[in-house]
Amino acid sequence: MSDYRIKGETGEWEVVIGLEVHAQITTNAKLFSGAATAFGAEPNTQVSLVDAAMPGMLPVPNRECIRQAVRTGMAIEAQINRWSRFDRKNYFYADLPQGYQISQLYHPLVGEGSITVEADEKAGIPEAKVIGVERIHVEQDAGKLMHDQHPTMSYVDLNRSGVALMEIVSKPDMRSPAEAGAYVRKLRAILRYVGSCDGNMEEGSMRADVNVSVRRPGDEFGTRTETKNVNSVRFVMAVIEGEAKRQVELIESGGTVVQETRLYDPDRNETRSMRSKEDAHDYRYFPDPDLLPLELDDEFLVECRESLPELPDAKRDRYLALGISPYNADVLTAEVEAARWFDTLLDAGAKPVAAANWVTSELFGALNRMGRDLTDSPVSPQQAAELLGLVADGTISGTIAKQVFEKMLESGDGAAEIVERDGLKQTSDTGAIEAEIAKILTANADKVEQYKGGKEALFGFFVGQTMKAMQGKANPQVVNELLKKALG
C-alpha cells in the first residue's frame, strides 16, 4: 500500500490516479489509409486522399495496426475481443478533416488486463503492485495546427492525421506520483519489447491523459480532473503532485472540484482549465457505417501470440533465477535494447552473474563517459563474452580485465589479442610468485613482525605488494595461498 498522502490543513488526503496513455502504433502506414507515418516530414507530405477526407473516400483497416494492438493486449495478459467495432466520435476542428475521429467506444479490441510495477523503496513503492488496465482500443490521431506561420491565419498539417494510436486506459488504481511514473515506465518498456510503439515521448508517440482526484483515505472517489497530452514521465508525476495539491487546497478552502479538462504548462509547472463538463462536446458516437465489425480468427490470434518476445517480467524472473541481483535484473530489463544485448552476451557463453555486474558497471560506465548507448556500443556482446571468458578461466584478473577493456574501447581489438600482445596473462607460476614474496617479506621484516603480533589487516598490504611486484599478472588466489603459507 502506498502511504503517499497530501497533508492538508484539515488532515491527510489520498490521491487517486488513472491514466489514459495514447501510444502511436509502429507501422509504415496509417490506420485506415496507405499513407506513410515518418516523424518530422515536411508538412502535408504524408497525406492520402482518405486522410484529407476528400469526398467519397473510404477507410480500410490496416491489418498490421490491429495486429500490434492485439499483441500489446496479449503482453499485458488482457482479454482479446474477437469481435470489436469502430465508432465515430463526431466533432468539428480544423485538424480533424473528416469531422469525426474513428475510434472504438462501445466494443474495444482489447478488454481487461494488468501491469505490475516493481517495488522501489527509494521511490516510495514498498512492494510490487498490480495496476489494472480497463481496455485498449485503436483510433486515429488528428492533424496538427500551426499558429506561428502567419499573422492572422492558422495552418494545418495533416501528416499525423489518421496515424494509428492505441489508447491504453488504466483503472484508477494508482495512489502516488511514483506509482504513476513506474506504471508509465513499465508500460513503455512493454510496448518497446512488443515492438508496437517506440515509446518516444519527446516526439509525441506516447502521451498520457492524467486523471486525478483526492479523497480522505478510504472514502468514496472524489471528482476528477483530466489533464491532457502530458508527454514525459516527469511531467506526469508533476501534474499529479500539483493537481492533487490544488484540489486539496480548493476543497479545504470551501470550494468544490469540478469535472473538467485541464492543460499542463511545463514552463510554469501548473495546469489550467481548458473546458468544464458543461462545455463538453456531445460526440454523438455511433458505429462507423463505412467499416464492418472486426472479427479475429484463430490463425491470426495464434500468430500474434507466437510472435511475442519474452517480456520484461518473464525476463526479470529468468535473470533472478540465474542468480543475478534484483537491482541488476531491473536495470537490465528496463530497456529492451539492454536486455537484448545482455541475452546475446549470455548466448555467447558469458557467466550470468559476472556478466550482469560487468554490463551494469563497466560497460554502462564506459558508454556513459562516451555519451553513447548500447545501440552504438563500440564493443559487441561477442567481444565482451571473450573478455569475460578470460577472467572466468583465470587467464587475466579482474584488474587486468579493466585495462584490457579500456584498450578494446580504444583500439577495437579483441580481448585475447590484446592480452597476448601486451603480455597481460596472469601467472600461477608458484616459483616466480614465491621468489617475489620472499623478497617482500625480507624487505618488510617489521611489518611481518606486526602481522604475526596480531595486526592481520596487514595481509592486504602484502597482497598488494606482491601483485605490484608481479605487475598485476599474478593469480590473486595463488598469491593469497602462498602468502598465507609464507607468513605461516
Binding site: L58, V60, F92, P97, T152, R284, F286, D290
Partner: protein, 499 residues
C-alpha cells in the same frame, strides 16, 4: 437507318461491333440531343469531348479487333461519382467548382469497359430528395407530361432524376444512379425506364460522395432489363478500397437472362397493400401478378410484418449517417469557404464563424434538415430512443425478408405509391415527400437487390413502375422476373418531345 439515339445499349454495342455505324456517330448523336435538351436541366456539366474521345478509341479498337464490353456506348454519370478532372458537385453549392483528382471505382470500371461520358447528371443535393428539386443547380424537369393537355412540369423522381430524365428523353442510352432509399427505382418508375439497385456491397462506394454509408449503393439505369444487366456487369466487383465491398465474382447476368419463370415463386407482401392506394397502382400490381404467372411462376402471399416501421427507421438511420458524413464539408480543405468579414468591434472571424457561414451558405434546406435530424437522433440522451431503436427495426426488417424468402424467390410490389407528381407539389411538406419512398426503403434497409421496370401508364398517361425485390446476391432472379414483366407488359410508351 434508325435514329441512333433510339438504340439501346445492347443495340449500340452489337451494331457498332457489326460495323453498322461508328462509335463517333453515336457519341455525336447523343451529344447533339444533350445540347438540345437544356430545358430539361438534366446535366450539370456536359462532356461531349469525353464521349467523343472514348468513341474514337472504340472505333480504333474495332479496327484492331480489341473491342471491350461497352465500346462505343456513351453514358451519363450521376454527379455524385467523382470524376478525375471533371467538376463533381453532388448538386450542391458546397462542392461547386470542385474538380477531383481521382476517379470513382465504378466510373473507372465503366471507362475501362470502353464507355464514354456525355456529362455529369443532375440530382437531388447530396442525393437527398425524391423529386430532384433540392439540386442547387435547379430542378430537372421530367420529359413526361400529363395527357390532360396541361403543361404542368413533372418531377423526374429523385435523387437520380437527371439520370432518369436523360434516359427517358434519349439524351443517353444508360446512366449511373445511386440508391439509398429508392433513388434509382423511384425515378426509373416516374420516367418509364428500368433501374436496378444491386445487393449492398456489389458496387464499390469508393469515390461516390457519401450520403448514408450503410445504405448507399450504385446501380445502372437504362431503357430495358438487358441494358441494366450489361451495365451492372461493368459496374460491380470487389474493391479493396471499400471495406464493405462484397468479395464475390461478378456473374454474367446478361448471358443468363431468361424470362422463363417455371419453378420460381413470387411473393406478394400483404403489408404493401396500403389503405387508399391509387387504383391505377393497384391495377398495375394485379396485372403484374398475372404476367409473372403467365411466365410460369407460382404466386404466394407473404408477410413482411415490420414494413410500417421501415420509413421511420430509414429517416433516423440515413440522416444520422449523413450528419456525420457531411461534417467534412467545413471550408477548410476544398469546396466552398465563406469567411465572414471582421466585425465592427475589430474582432476577427474565427474557425467557428467560418464553419457556420460556410455550411449555412453551402447546404440547401433539405440537406440542413437531415443534418439536424441526424445530429438530434445521435445526441446524448436521444441515441437509444432513436438510433438504437431504428437499428433494431432494421434487423427485424431484414429478418422479415429472410423469412419471406423461405417461401418465395422474388417479391413483387409497386415501386412508388403514385405516378410522377408535379414540381413544387410536395416541397412544402417533407413528410409527404418522404412517403414516396415507402415501398423502396425496406429493401434498402435489408441491403437486398431490387429493380423497377415500367409496367403501365396511369389514366393521366404517366408511367408506373413495378418493383422486384430479390434475395441477397441473387440479382439474376430479379433481372429475370423483370424481363418477364418487360416482355409481357409491352411497355413502349415514351415522352413526346416538347423541349
Amino acid at each position: 437507318m434508325t435514329e441512333l439515339t433510339n438504340l439501346t445499349v445492347a443495340q449500340i454495342r452489337d451494331g457498332h461491333r457489326a460495323g453498322d455505324f461508328s462509335a463517333v456517330e453515336v457519341a455525336e448523336a447523343f451529344s447533339a440531343n444533350v445540347a438540345g435538351a437544356k430545358a430539361l436541366n438534366a446535366f450539370i456539366v456536359e462532356t461531349p469531348e469525353h464521349a467523343l474521345e472514348a468513341a474514337k478509341q472504340a472505333d480504333a479498337d474495332r479496327a484492331a479487333g480489341t473491342l471491350k464490353p461497352l465500346s462505343g456506348v456513351p453514358i451519363g454519370m450521376k454527379d455524385l461519382f467523382c470524376t478525375n478532372g471533371v467538376q463533381t458537385t453532388a448538386a450542391s453549392h458546397m462542392l461547386e467548382g470542385f474538380i477531383p483528382r481521382y476517379e470513382s471505382t465504378v466510373s473507372q470500371k465503366l471507362w475501362d469497359a470502353g464507355a464514354g461520358m456525355l456529362g455529369k447528371l443532375n440530382l437531388d443535393q447530396f442525393a437527398m430528395g425524391s423529386s430532384n428539386e433540392t439540386s442547387y443547380f435547379g430542378n430537372v424537369i421530367s420529359p413526361w407530361r400529363r395527357k390532360d393537355g396541361g403543361n404542368a412540369a413533372l418531377a423526374p423522381g429523385g435523387s437520380s432524376g437527371g439520370s432518369s430524365t436523360a434516359i427517358a428523353a434519349r439524351l443517353c442510352p444508360a446512366a449511373t444512379g445511386t440508391d439509398t432509399g429508392g433513388s434509382i427505382r423511384q425515378p426509373a418508375a416516374f420516367t418509364g425506364i428500368s433501374g436496378i439497385k444491386p445487393t449492398y456491397g456489389r458496387c464499390s462506394r469508393w469515390g461516390i460522395v457519401a450520403f448514408a454509408s450503410s445504405l448507399d449503393q450504385a446501380g445502372p439505369m437504362a431503357r430495358d432489363v438487358r441494358d441494366c444487366a450489361i451495365m451492372l456487369e461493368n459496374m460491380a466487383g470487389f474493391d479493396a478500397k471499400d471495406a464493405t465491398s462484397l468479395n464475390l465474382p461478378v456473374p454474367n447476368w446478361e448471358a443468363a437472362l431468361s424470362s422463363d419463370l417455371k419453378g420460381k415463386t413470387v411473393g406478394i407482401p400483404k403489408e404493401y397493400r396500403l389503405e387508399g392506394i391509387d387504383p391505377d397502382i393497384d391495377a398495375m400490381w394485379e396485372a403484374g401478378i398475372a404476367m409473372l404467372k403467365d411466365a410460369g411462376a407460382a404466386v404466394v402471399e407473404i408477410s413482411l410484418p415490420h414494413t410500417k416501421y421501415a420509413l421511420p427507421a430509414y429517416y433516423i438511420i440515413a440522416p444520422a449517417e449523413a450528419s456525420s458524413n457531411l461534417a467534412r464539408y467545413d471550408g477548410v480543405r476544398y469546396g466552398l469557404r465563406d469567411l465572414p468579414a471582421k466585425d465592427s468591434s475589430g474582432g476577427g472571424a474565427g474557425l467557428q464563424d467560418m464553419y457556420a457561414a460556410t455550411r449555412a451558405e453551402g447546404f440547401g434546406p433539405e440537406v440542413k434538415r437531415r443534418i439536424m435530424i441526424g445530429t438530434y437522433v445521435l445526441s446524448a440522451g436521444f441515441y437509444d430512443a432513436y438510433y438504437t431503436q431504428a437499428q433494431k427495426v432494421r434487423t427485424l426488417i431484414a429478418r422479415d425478408f429472410e423469412q419471406a424468402f423461405g417461401s418465395c424467390d422474388v417479391i413483387l410490389a409497386p415501386t412508388a405509391p403514385s405516378a410522377a407528381f408535379g414540381l413544387g407539389e410536395k416541397m412544402a411538406d417533407p413528410l409527404a415527400m418522404y412517403l414516396n419512398d415507402v415501398f423502396a426503403v425496406p429493401a434498402s434497409l435489408a441491403g437486398l437487390p431490387a429493380m423497377s421496370v415500367p409496367a403501365a401508364l396511369n389514366r393521366e398517361g404517366l408511367p408506373l413502375g413495378l418493383q422486384i425485390i430479390g434475395k441477397a446476391f441473387d440479382e439474376q432472379s430479379v433481372l429475370n422476373a423483370g424481363l418477364a414483366l418487360e416482355e409481357r407488359s409491352g411497355f413502349t410508351a415514351r415522352a413526346e418531345k416538347w423541349w
